[in-house]
Amino acid sequence: MNALVLCIPLLPFLGFLIVGLFRNKLSRTMSGILASGFIGISFILTLVIFFSHYYSANAITYFDFISNSQYNISFSFQVDQLSTLFMLIITGVGFLIHVYSTAYMREEPPEHFARYFAYLNLFVFSMLLLVLGANYVIMFIGWEGVGICSYLLIGFWFKNNQFNYAARKAFIMNRIGDVGFLLAIFWILTKFGSADYSVVFSNSSTLSVADVTGITILLFVGAIGKSAQIPLYTWLPDAMAGPTPVSALIHAATMVTAGIYMIARSNVLFSMSPVTMDIVAVIGLATAILAATIALFQNDIKKVLAYSTVSQLGFMFVALGVGAYTTGVFHVMTHSFFKALLFLGAGSVIHAMGGEQDITKMGGLRKKIPITYWTFLIAVLAISGFPFTSGFVSKDEILMAAYAHSQPLFWLTTFAAVLTALYMFRVFMLVFLGGFRGSEEQQHHLHESPPAMTIPLIILAVLAAVGGFVQLPEIFGGHDYFNEFLAPVVPAFKHVGESLAVQEYYLLAGTVVGLLIIFLLCKKWYAVKQFEGKYTGIKNVLAHKWYIDELYDAIIVNPFNNIAGFLKSIVEKSGIDGIVNGVGRFIQYSSRQVRLVQSGMVGNYILIMVLSITVLFMVFWNQDLIIGFLQKIF
């Protein structure tokens, strides 16, 4: 069984090696089959683990990674309910997206096609490492691994420098978070002499309040970077430069949820620090609202989805922050269904439009691409929280958890949820309803995507629709299967008592009415023939993302560049090297001066000689006096 567990991450790695090394020799079909096949087998192996209940609180150790007399970090995997759940998402959704990509990326030349799949496989490998690791160091290895894969895939079309900048920005912002994560790891190592989850969590009671707060805040800084929260969220919208399936896999379904995984995994530590929990909740809420407001007026279909992802991640952090870890993880799962579906749907739309991403140029696509239309509709309903879709169940639970924590939190979260419905319906209307606003050529080109793309869409649509039933509130006749499943690793969120059961009905009714109103409003505003997409006033500020990027440029990037330039050309060149060269130049200068003494005039030499002899005699005769004087001075 240990070998089987090892196979799950190793197969994608093998896929990476084979497809990557033989990228010039493999045909497109071949590399597509190989890459998807390896992920598919991993998925099946994960299912085997899932159904055979091969869970263990003990880690599977393969070999010692780093060892010294102070600590031992082993290369070991932890197969429990939490990691299995994430593995299912990663390999399952990952497999669908691989299959989708075989069609989506068909126009790439074979070697770049293969390169794409090699990166994708490497990504799955790193992500599996992240969730499988039995200590923080292995998690960090995966953590950085997914970061670099994200970098490579965002910059996949490397001829475009804009994309390269986006890729670099993503990696560097992630690195800022990684600093926090690494510091937390060092702190843990110093306190426990081990980074193993089992050791850390079982001895966590020995930590002082300051330690546990420090560690959790630093861990959260890591999560902020990876999961794109305020203030490090700006990379995620830019990351849309990558191919759309990449956005679906990395920047919606899996990598960006690594932060949630990390906090859920460390729930023992986080529960010990109320301060950190509050920070997590507040940052999550702020991000959820800020990103949702920005998403309201974006014209790029992928940008809307990107901000939507940031906002949904904010929801997850709200759930974590109020102590509902399982709810946060549950939203990761449902979100991975509907957001992957949205992105793949958007990919299908972009595919149909011949690469066009601007929603002001779309419209009325309902008839042309029906499968995409229906699946996209399901995804929109799910993310807006239409009753009994997966998104409804998970979001409902987040709201309930927030309600139990504090009223203002509940209302603000609800506000963010309303915004979610608004921007999603807006996109939906602009793309699929109204009249077509693109060029003649584009209209002619419109077509439904091939089965390799639509079948993953349909599967994900089914999951997005019914995925919530594993955790349907009991009041609707469901049961907390999901929470019970995770209970051994993550303590289940205690459901609020009977008194709040009524609230569920209010919420249900409110959701239905609210969505109806929003639907009608959006239909009136956006299901139109002409749409400019130009905004003024506050809308313009929102369309420009609150000018946050410009702000960062002004207060961080530019000053940093100036300081670097100052250090390079002033401090280094004139300062330090100036001193070094100055010493040399001084010696040269003084030797030039001293050389003048050698005038060549014999008379001068003799004069100096005579004077020196005289001085010597003087000194000789008065040496007692001089020595006495010197002694007085020193």
């Binding site: 990674f65 490397f158 690494l182 510091l183 330039g565 390079k568 330090i576």
Partner: protein, 483 residues
């Protein structure tokens, strides 16, 4: 006996190479010589020869109390291995290149290798000093004869600067010799010298400045970017992969055991210098336009971190430094080889004049990407292990210093990815319009390095195991003081 062979093989083959007129013969000869050296050290490390081969002792200058003593610890073996590997790689990667006066070039290169071998192996102060200079002199001739237009100036600065340091060390050594109980230069006697605290402190600085210049550590670093920029890339590889390690190595072998009190009491200021070195060089690297200068500054940054980690006096810090000396040597060699390929093929090193190479030279781009990832210490490259341990050590020493030093991982990502992006991605520019991919020799050399980087990144145990005795040895001396 093998210990002596490790010096003699490059020394004698180097002398012989001087008499070779024909380039082809000289390069085959030196490749053979480097391979032979490599086999010797591999035989020693894998224990296929008896361990008694690891040391050597013979009377040398009896009237001065100096014996020709060579001795090995795990760290020494590792650095000797690094030296052997790098030379093999350099000769392999530049195999197709025609050098002016090949006999002299290869002769001097091999002599330099012999000198560095001696530095690593010597267990006697005078022998150490002798080889320290023996390594420097060929470097002077190499840098001043094969290189770019300002090479004389750069070499002069390099030579005078490092020579100044050497002289300080020599003064220290002679003074120390007078204080040893048996008036000898042996490392063991140095450790038992009767020194007062102030004497120890004074000698510590004499030695440390010599080694700090060699490393180089801020603010003694300005010779390095200039020298690297101006000398031929194959020489730069040797300088930055192996020679700068001499400084770190010397601190570990010739300072910490001899002046433990001074090392502990001065640790704070040196760690701060190291961290300044790390951040300062990283920030400057962000704005460099010359590939060689960029890598030079990145190298200064890494060395600064290593120096700081040494003086943290912690187990992970020490372990990290030792493995990182090896890993950094390997990775930086890979980076230099790409620069060499780029410079010889496209005739420019300016980052702004390059671009779009990934389209034209995919293999080169892939290999450089791996080296670049090593440079930013990405997990599963060997550098991660070293940097993780070093940062962990610094964090143990002081949380603040650890946190400040960690900022460098952001900076290293900025400048390294900047370089990758501007050189390999984007559109092709005039200089890279007709670019062709890396040649077979350089590719082979790079693949060897890549395999090493990835293997040691995934399974660093062999390296950690090799240096284990040195870590214990160095730390036991320091712990004695701390208690």
């Amino acid at each position: 006996m093998i210990a002596l062979l490790l010096i003699l093989i490059p020394f004698l083959t180097g002398l012989a190479a001087f008499f070779m007129r024909e380039g082809k013969m000289a390069r085959n000869w030196s490749l053979f010589s480097s391979l032979l050296t490599l086999l010797c050290i591999i035989a020693l490390i894998t224990n296929s020869v008896s361990a008694s081969n690891a040391s050597f002792d013979i009377a040398w200058l009896p009237f001065l109390g100096s014996r020709f003593t060579l001795a090995m610890t795990g760290m020494v073996k590792m650095l000797v291995l690094l030296n052997a590997i790098i030379y093999f790689i350099v000769f392999l990667a530049t195999f197709k290149r025609a050098f002016v006066q090949p006999g002299r070039f290869f002769g001097l290169m091999l002599l330099m290798q012999a000198g560095m071998m001696g530095v690593f192996l010597a267990a006697d102060g005078l022998v150490f000093y002798f080889f320290w200079e023996l390594a420097l002199v060929p470097a002077y001739f190499l840098c001043s004869q094969w290189g770019n237009e300002k090479r004389i100036q750069a070499t002069f600065k390099f030579f005078v600067y490092t020579f100044l340091g050497s002289l300080l060390m020599l003064i220290g050594m002679i003074y120390l010799h007078g204080k040893t109980p048996d008036h000898s230069y042996a490392l063991q006697s140095f450790m038992h010298a009767n020194l007062s605290l102030s004497e120890e402190n004074f000698l510590f600085w004499l030695f440390f400045i010599a080694f700090a210049i060699k490393m180089p550590l801020f603010p003694f670093h300005t010779w390095q970017p200039f020298a690297y920029e101006q000398s031929d890339t194959s020489i730069t590889i040797v300088l930055s992969s192996v020679m700068v390690k001499m400084g770190l190595f010397a601190v570990l072998r010739w300072i910490l055991p001899i002046f433990p009190h001074a090392a502990v009491s001065n640790s704070h200021i040196i760690i701060i210098l190291g961290v300044i070195s790390l951040l300062y060089a990283s920030v400057i690297a962000v704005r460099q336009n010359d590939l060689k200068r960029l890598i030079a500054y990145s190298s200064i940054a890494h060395i600064g971190l290593m120096c700081a980690a040494i003086f943290s006096g912690t187990v992970p810090g020490m372990q990290g430094v030792m493995v990182q000396m090896f890993n950094h040597g390997i990775i930086v060699a890979g980076l230099w080889i790409t620069v060499e390929v780029i410079e010889t093929q496209y005739g420019t090193r300016k980052i702004s004049e390059l671009g779009g190479l990934a389209q034209k030279a995919p293999v080169l781009a892939t290999l450089l990407m791996i080296m670049a990832l090593g440079n930013i210490a990405l997990p599963l490259t060997s550098a991660f292990v070293g940097e993780f341990l070093m940062f962990s050590g610094l964090f143990q020493y002081s949380i603040i210093i650890g946190a400040v030093a960690l900022i460098s991982i952001i900076l290293s990502a900025i400048y390294t990815l900047n370089m990758v992006q501007n050189v390999f991605y984007g559109h092709t520019l005039p200089a890279t319009q007709d670019a062709i991919d890396i040649n077979r020799n350089a590719k082979f050399a790079m693949i060897i390095l890549t395999v090493l980087i990835l293997f040691l990144g995934f399974y660093p145990q062999p390296l950690l195991h090799l240096v284990n005795d040195s870590v214990q040895g160095v730390l036991s001396g320091l712990n004695f003081v701390l208690k």
